[in-house]
Assembly symmetry: C2
Homo-oligomer: 222 residues x 2
Amino acid sequence: MTKPAKIIPPSVVRRLTRYLAHLQEVREEGTEWVSSQGIAETLGLTSSTVRQDLSHLDCSGISKRGYETGPLERVLARVLGADRAWRVVVVGIGNLGRALALHEEFPRRGFEICGVFDADPRKIGKKVGKLVVRSIEEVPAVVRAEKVDIGIIAVPPSAAQSVADVLIEAGVRGLLNLALTHIVAPKRVAVTNSRIVAAAMELTHAIKFLPKESLPKRKPGP
Amino acid sequence: MTKPAKIIPPSVVRRLTRYLAHLQEVREEGTEWVSSQGIAETLGLTSSTVRQDLSHLDCSGISKRGYETGPLERVLARVLGADRAWRVVVVGIGNLGRALALHEEFPRRGFEICGVFDADPRKIGKKVGKLVVRSIEEVPAVVRAEKVDIGIIAVPPSAAQSVADVLIEAGVRGLLNLALTHIVAPKRVAVTNSRIVAAAMELTHAIKFLPKESLPKRKPGP
DNA sequence: TAGATTGTTAATCGATTAACAATC
DNA sequence: TAGATTGTTAATCGATTAACAATC
């Protein structure tokens, strides 16, 4: 519907990431058109929500056919920043940090891991994939030299804010926080959180309050 | 404010996990009382939101002093299901699945990993911590024998739904989905998503639309 | 007591859904 | 053409914030 880039609400952005993933999937299968109804059904939404969301984008559908997958994917990729490479460092090489530094999905989606850091001297010098773990003290130099855009914070909660401060001071523009702690950053630095343990706790809450176990099915008596 | 357990909105549950983490932190430092204002400040919220959220809980504060950290932590733990152990299996032992199976934070918070599975024959038989990777075909037997509550889905998107179906059929009560795909489950099974790559894309979007780089500070001229 | 902080109600704000004219 | 689907407006729903009496 051809609207110029304006602020998109976070609730919408969250769904846009899912639309992009969906588009990439169906496009690989050769699908050329999708409808708001089709997207909604596979993603568990209403078609109204999908059309509202897409109306934030510079794209238009066609009555009776829907949206062309190619252009829609490109528009989504552009607005989400998935149309270019991003330079990333990972700070904190525990199990989680290591996994992220090695996660194949990141390079596939344009995130280039170009440095891994830890505070623990026993880890410094060890290899993670092709990268060597360096001291956190080297973060500023590397961020500047390698023009790093994003810092991933995978340290324990107690260290998260101080690591964030180092990354911010060094000049990153965004932080992906995996620690279960709130991080304070100036407005010029974007922060998103992805807390797996918190998600697990949301799940256990949901399980406790699940609708009563539906009774084992029985044919209703005559 | 002593309200009996009722349905708590998801937006509130998400914050409750943060309150619990915060409470545990400050309690370790010996703090015995917190105020809604105090919580709000350290978590980047308003005190009004905090009080509204806590009003869903069976707890009460005291004018002028706030909330006692001990009881509040216990109530939060109970409502979030953090007051008991949960049996968990991880399906998909790529980098991410492996990291989660080894993540120290899980056992510390009551999640007992009691099985790890993969479809790749080359991975089957390998060890992950103390556990041996088994074939996905063994999932139903293990889930039943070990009374598994929760399945963590760490497989590629294309396999996510079929793994979910196996877990559901085997009788898990909750799924933690790490795949970038929507998962369909019956109402009796809870699902939460934690998609790190999606969070990274939200971040790159935010970076692109960051408020204009504030100009280097200068004293305003006379 | 005076002042701070709760619990709760009412007001605002934002997000989702419904509805429908426009259109291919 | 008839029917399906968009784009958009209006209605509903839910979440956040403001305000304030109650109270310790």
